[in-house]
Every structure is written in C-alpha cells, then in structure tokens.
C-alpha cells in the first residue's frame, strides 16, 4: 500500500480531490492533543493498487503560526508516527500559482517526493492564463499534473505520477532555495541548538524550526524557542530579519519560474467574483444581503429544524416505551430508560440543529461567501472585542450553544476560537424559553401591560436576551485580558472566488460532523446523563408496605373499580412515591445542602433540586419541579403554567424570586451537552470546567445582586 499525502493551500480544491480519490472510504478523527481534524481514506486505483490517502490540514505556509501548519509539518516529517509518505501531492490553484508554489517549495525542501497537482485548469483558461506544463515540470523538477478535481479530470495522470515518484526522490535541487551567506550562517547556528532534532535531516527542517512561532516551538520542545532566538537573534529592522529572507528567497526562486511558464494570453478582465463583490460587498446592498442571509440561517436552525427535533423526540419516546415494556420494572429498566436512553435522546435531539447549521455554513463556505461575511461584520465585531468570524457561531448560539460552539471551527485563530466558545453559552438559547415561560406565566400573567400594549413578561424575557448578550461582550473583554490572553488574529483572510457549492462536499461535511458529534460528544453526554440519573435515583426509595396497603385500601373504598377517579387516585400515590424518591435521593440531599448557598438568591431547596436536575438540560427544570411537587407533567403550555402556579402558591416563587431565577438561568451553564461539546472541541476538561466555574459564579453574583436589591426595595 502506498502512503499518499495531500497538501495544499485552503480553497484549492484539496478536499474535493480527497473526496474524489477516496469516495466513501474515509474517516475523520482528531490528531492527538490538538483540535485539528485528521482525515484518512483509502483508494483502489484503476490498476488495483491501493493507497492510503492522508488529507493534511490546508495551510498557506509550512512555517507554523497555527496548529494546522504545525500538524502539516509534523506529519510530513514523520513525527506523528505515520509511515513515511511515498508521495506528497501538493494541490495548487492554477489561477494563483506563485503563492501556492511557496508551500510546494517548502515541502520539496524537506526532501520529500512531491507532485504538483495543478487544479482548476478550467478556471485558469477562463481567466486567460496559459500554463506551459512541460516547462513548469522541468523548472520545478517534479511531475506537474493538470487537473479539474471537481469534474474528476486528471485522476489517471495523477495515479501515474504517484507511481513514478513513489519511493524515489525526484526533486531537482533547482527548486530548493539557495541560501544566502547570512541564511547559511543562521542554519548552522540553528543546527547547533536543535541538535538531535534535526540530525541527518534537511536544511528545510532547520528553517522550519527557525521560522515557526516561538510559542509552538516551545510547546513541542520546552525552552527551545528562546534558545533559537538567542542563537539567531531577530534583526532590529523586521524587514531585514533572516526569517523574512527565507521566504523572500523562496519567492525569488518561484517568481521567475511563474513568469516564464505562465503566460497571459489576453489582458486581465474583471472576474465574475469581482463583479459579484461590487454588489455583495456594497455598503448598503451588501449589508442588506448579509442580513437576509443571516436571518435565513437563523430561521433554519431555530425553526426549520423543529419538525425533525419532534420526530427525534417521538422516535426516542417510542424506543423508550418499547424498552420499558420489554424489561421487568426495576433497576435495569430504570438505568436503561432514565440514564442511557435519555442520554442518547439528549444527543440525537441536537442533530437536526447541527445538520441545519452546518448545511448553512457549508453552503456559505463552499460558495466563498463566508469570508465576505467576516469582511462585512469585522468592524462591528471588533467593537465588542471579537473577530468577524465569530458572528455566525454566536448567532447560532441563540438557537443552541452546541451547534454554535461546533461552528467555531470555521475560525482560524485558536485563541479567538476559544474565546468565542467560552462566551457562546451566554447567548439565550431556545432551551431557556420553557424556564422563562414557567416564570413569566406564573408571576406576570395578571400584570397590566406597560404603555397599554407591552406585556411585562415579554419585556422581562427580552431583557434576559439583552443581559446574556451584554455579559458575553463584557466576558469577552475580560477574558481577552486574563484567561485567553493575547491572540486575536488580525483579520487576514483570503477571499476565494465565488463558486457553486458542490453537493458531494457538503454531504461529506455533514456526514463527518454528525458522526463526530454522535460518537464523541454523544459518549460524554450519555455518561453524564447516567451520572445524573444515579444522583436522582439513589438511594432507592420504597413506600413502606403498610402505608402502601392502607393507601390502596382507601382508594379501593372511595372509588369505583376502573373509574377515572381510581386511576387518578392511584397516580397520586405513584407521584408521591416519585416525589419522595427525588427528595431523599443524593440530588435531593444536594438540593437541600446547597440551600444556604442559594438562599441569598431567593431560592429554596425545591429550586435547589431543580437546579441540580436541570443540569441535564435547562428545560428539564420544568418536569423536575413538577416532580418535586408530586404533580404530573406534560409539555403543554398549560402544564408549564400550572407548575408555575403551584410554585407561586407554595411561596417558592414570587415576582422577585422569579426574576432572580430567570437571571440565573440566563447566565448559568447548566447544560451537560454544552459541557460535552466544549470537552470535545477543546480536547480536554480544562476549558469546560473553566466555563462551568466562571459562568455559574457570574450567574450567582447577578442573581444575588438582583434579589438583594429587590428585597431591599421591598419586593421580596
């Protein structure tokens, strides 16, 4: 089996080529310890030979300024434990050869067998470019394969080229930059510092260590970055730094080749993309289009996913009923139904929104419009301390933070991405609405409208949305200066030409997203769900036999057999058992134990239990409160309102306490699915724990302020 790597700049059609080469035989995973996706697939060639195809992360340069570049280099130099590559196919955009060739030169300098796959030859022809492939191959010293990957054109030639270079070093030295005396000296000095790391390895690798970001070098080899800078000091004048010379000398090799081999057969005309941009980036029309596009995306996630969500709910209810019926009542049935299956349901229920959002993002990204949205909102977002690319993830978080956090993968900079993930849960998601409804329906239902037409409940809910947003801005401001210091990549992004989205790529992306979410995030959700079930189901409660017998006797005396009254009376006993089970469970004890902590917020132990139960998902507060009061519950608005009325009557809820509860829910992180998603997207428990801590502390403080000030004003 041949090991074939695909490398290339973003937007060169590398993914399309990967999908064409591997068909359905690919899987997506993560590189260890880092949130860069690893895609590997297999191909069976026309002659029966098989390849393992490695899709390296897209990058403009190998010198590492980001995890993608670091991974690409580590994979190419065999530092990730893969078998050495037999061929490295560098996918190049034929319309933009010079910048693309930089990567090829860097890879060739690592002494790797490279192939130049000149993609988008049709676009190059349309733009009036004539490429002399024979001359190019001679100058570059490697095979040059013309391709139109999206139409599958050029694959046989590529197969042949891979066979030709496999195992052989075909790169002519002419492609590799000739170092100046200064660079030569720097390489020697760096070699001394790098020692074993580059023993017997190419100058290209030495230059990689020298030109990569210090933070990345330090992470790979603690202290190495500093020692390298001491050995090869940076010049006072950045334009004279030897690290710049390295890049300039590569371009000095590339530019004459491109000039010789790429001829413009007719003068440059305005491209279709430039004509579209006149409207799409127009201050007024472009902004209008942007608002429409974003409104559609939000609608899709917020509303259009609903039928599918209901279908998942019904499907899972059916499965749950089936399991419930098939198993004898008892612990096994309970753990399966209330622990595992509810976790599975809690995972699958997110899929419709995730798929909707990623369908939208894939369309935006594949068409080239996503880069334009960042251009349009960058200034606006900069005012709130976030990059333009954070807009779509945060907008989606108003529907649900889980797809919102997943959407941050379109952001380049690691720190920007982390910051966005940490503030995304503050956007008021749709799971908070039942809680808002519960409170407002109970405490503000009878209140006279403000100005005659604005309902107080509606205003309070709107205020919660505003509160979440303002706190997100404030949190971004503070976190940027503390926990997520530095970073903040200045907007610097390529604006790819507009292209028709390719259904195959989109389906593939959706499949990968869904798979990763279900298998990886889902596992954590199920585990946390079982844990929560244990908290609420242990220790076991059994109604004492005499009490049960006497109550059943009372029911038997007062109601007629098979009458609705009897059914209802028996259900009352059942609910009472559920209530007492919950009350004396670990969760119940926890709820009571945290009462002193939450009393200053105006919450009693009943709400305490509700807070613990609603950690599964915020909307679970409503059924848990119903259970605390020993009431039945269904999802109807009347039932929600009835639970609120009961809370009101028992004094658990007052208008002030209700507002305090809403403020708490607007801010607190009480969603194990978000925790699981954060864990998966940051590849560790550090940041989810951090988010839990800071958001819940913030929620406590805000509720405390609201309740105490309200109480002082006499609203208690």
């Amino acid at each position: 089996m041949l090991e074939v790597a695909l490398a290339g700049n973003p937007n060169t059609g590398k993914t399309t080529l990967f999908n064409t080469l591997t068909g359905a035989h690919a899987h997506v995973g993560n590189y260890p310890g880092i949130t860069v996706e690893r895609r590997v697939g297999t191909r069976t060639c026309a002659n029966g030979e098989t390849w393992r195809v490695h899709d390296l992360p897209g990058c403009y340069s190998l010198a590492a300024h980001s995890p993608e570049e670091e991974i690409a280099h580590q994979a190419l130099t065999g530092r990730l434990g893969d078998a050495p590559f037999d061929a490295v196919v560098v996918v190049l955009d034929a319309t933009n050869l010079a910048r693309n060739l930089l990567l090829l030169v860097q890879i060739a300098e690592l002494d790797l067998p490279v192939i130049a796959a000149l993609n988008m030859m049709d676009a190059a022809a349309a733009e009036g470019l004539d490429l002399d492939l024979v001359g190019l191959a001679a100058d570059l010293g490697c095979p040059c394969v013309p391709m139109i990957a999206r139409k599958g054109i050029g694959i046989p030639l590529l197969e042949q080229a891979v066979r030709d270079v496999a195992g052989r070093r075909q790169v002519k030295p002419s492609l590799v930059s000739v170092p100046s005396a200064e660079m030569r000296r720097a390489i020697e000095q760096a070699r001394v510092v790098l020692g074993d790391l580059v023993d017997g390895r190419s100058d290209g690798e030495v230059l990689w260590w020298l030109c990569s970001d210090r933070s990345i070098v330090d992470r790979l080899q603690p202290g190495l970055g500093k020692r390298l800078e001491l050995a090869v000091p940076r010049a006072q004048d950045p334009t004279r730094d030897v690290r710049r010379q390295v890049t300039e000398s590569r371009y000095a090799r590339i530019d004459p080749i491109v000039m010789r081999r790429v001829r413009r057969v007719r003068p440059r005309a305005q491209t279709p993309s430039e004509r579209i941009d006149r409207w799409a980036l127009h201050p007024v029309i472009g902004t209008g289009l942007f608002v429409v596009a974003m409104a559609l995306l939000f609608q899709a996630v917020f509303l259009w996913a609903n039928p599918a969500i209901e279908a998942v709910d019904h499907g899972m209810a059916w499965v749950t009923g089936l399991v419930h019926g098939a198993l004898p009542p008892g612990l096994l049935s309970d753990i399966l139904v209330d622990g595992v299956l509810s976790g599975v349901a809690g995972t699958l229920v997110f899929l419709p929104q995730i798929l909707m959002l990623f369908l939208g993002i894939a369309l935006l990204e594949d068409s080239g419009y996503l880069a334009r949205t960042a251009f349009l909102v960058d200034r606006l977002m900069a005012r709130v301390g976030l990059p333009g690319k954070a807009f779509v993830p945060l907008l989606s978080s108003f529907a649900c933070a889980v797809p919102g956090i997943m959407a941050t993968r379109t952001m380049g900079d690691r720190r920007d991405r982390l910051l966005t993930m940490l503030v995304a849960p503050l956007m008021s998601c749709s799971a908070r609405l039942p809680v808002y409804t519960l409170v407002t329906a109970a405490v503000f239902a009878g209140t006279a409208p403000v100005l005659g037409f604005l309902s107080v409940g509606g205003l309070v809910v709107a205020a919660m949305y505003g509160l979440g947003f303002l706190l997100a801005v404030a949190a971004a401001f503070v976190l940027r200066r503390t926990a997520v210091k530095g970073g903040g990549a200045p907007l610097l992004l390529e604006m790819p030409p507009y292209r028709w989205p390719r259904p195959r790529n989109i389906l593939r992306a959706l499949k990968d997203r869904a798979w990763v979410f279900v298998t990886q995030t889902g596992a954590v959700i199920v585990a946390l769900s079982v844990l929560l079930w244990v908290l609420m189901a242990f220790p076991r409660f059994q109604l004492p036999a005499e009490e049960l017998a006497s109550r059943q006797a009372v029911v038997a005396q007062t109601t007629a057999p098979d009458s609705p009254q009897r059914v209802e009376a028996l259900r009352v006993i059942e609910r009472d058992v559920e209530r007492r089970q919950l009350e004396q469970s670990i969760a119940g004890h926890l709820g009571k134990a945290i009462e002193p902590l939450i009393a200053p917020l105006g919450f009693d132990w009943r709400i305490g239990i509700g807070l613990i139960g609603s950690f599964a998902a915020r909307e679970v507060l409503v059924p848990v409160m119903a259970q605390v009061y020993g009431r039945g519950h269904d999802d109807s608005d009347e039932a929600v309102s009835a639970v609120g009325q009961t809370m009101l009557r028992s004094g658990t809820l007052t208008p002030l306490r209700g507002v305090s509860l809403m403020v708490f829910f607007a801010i607190a992180m009480q969603c194990l699915s978000t925790v699981a998603t954060l864990k998966r997207e940051t590849n560790g428990w550090k940041w989810p724990v951090f988010a839990l801590t800071y958001l819940n502390a913030l929620a406590w403080i805000a509720s405390f302020v609201v309740y105490q000030i309200g109480a002082a004003l006499g609203y208690a």
């Binding site: 403009y60 340069s61 010198a63 300024h65 955009d93 319309t95 933009n96 050869l97 010079a98 910048r99 930089l102 470019l129 100046s180 030109c211 970001d213 940076r234 950045p238 334009t239 004279r240 690290r243 710049r244 010379q245 890049t247 300039e248 000398s249 371009y251 000095a252 530019d255 004459p256 491109v258 000039m259 790429v262 001829r263 413009r264 057969v265 007719r266 003068p267 440059r268 993309s273 430039e274 941009d277 980036l281 201050p283 880069a371 960042a374 251009f375 349009l376 960058d378 200034r379 900069a382 200045p490 907007l491 610097l492 992004l493 390529e494 604006m495 790819p496 030409p497």
Partner: protein, 107 residues
C-alpha cells in the same frame, strides 16, 4: 495575441532591492493607495509572526497590489495581491509600504 505577463516584475535580490529604495524618501502605506490604483510592495514594516505571515502570503518586494474596496466606518480593506483577493485590517495595511506603479490599475 498580446503576451502580457501576469505575475511580478523581475525581482532583484531582496537585500539589493531594499538598499536601493532607501534613497527614495517618499513611502506610502497600502492604506493610502487609492482604490483601483496598481501599487508595488516595498516592504512589510511589521515585526513578528504577523509580518512574516504577510510576506509568506506574497507581500514580497515588487509584488503587485491593488486596493479593491474599503469596508465602511474604518473597516477592513479588500485587496488583490498578485492574483488573489484577500481582506486585511487597516492596522496591517498601514504597515505595508507600497509605491504606486506606472500605468493604470486593473480593478
């Protein structure tokens, strides 16, 4: 058929080129370049990773660059560098020295 060269004018060795234009006092930033006017990059006066990244993207000495449009309210610039489009913030564009080239831009 008129063979028009698409890509950069011949490049001198970077060091030679740079010492050459030290004579000329007049230096413009990319931000000052009028929309649609062709300019040639003189240098990126930004230290650290950001400066290196810009050079890697192709802001090398002599590379052709044109400002296509500016986002309103001091937002980013859309430029064509060599043969591709990118957007960058004004802070970065301020650090990129350019010289307006002879002839008309092609925006």
């Amino acid at each position: 058929m008129d063979p028009v060269v698409a890509l950069p004018a011949p490049l001198l060795h970077p060091l030679v080129a740079r010492s050459g234009d030290r004579q000329g006092k007049e230096r413009h930033a990319l931000t000052d370049l009028a929309v649609g006017v062709l300019g040639r990059v003189q240098g990126v006066e930004l230290a650290g990773a950001m400066g290196e990244r810009l050079v890697e993207l192709g802001f090398t000495h002599g590379a052709p660059v044109t400002v296509l449009r500016r986002a309103p309210f001091g937002g980013p610039l859309q430029v064509r560098l060599r043969d591709f489009m990118l957007s960058l913030r004004r802070e970065q564009a301020d650090a990129i020295r350019v010289r307006p080239a002879e002839g008309k831009g092609d925006a």
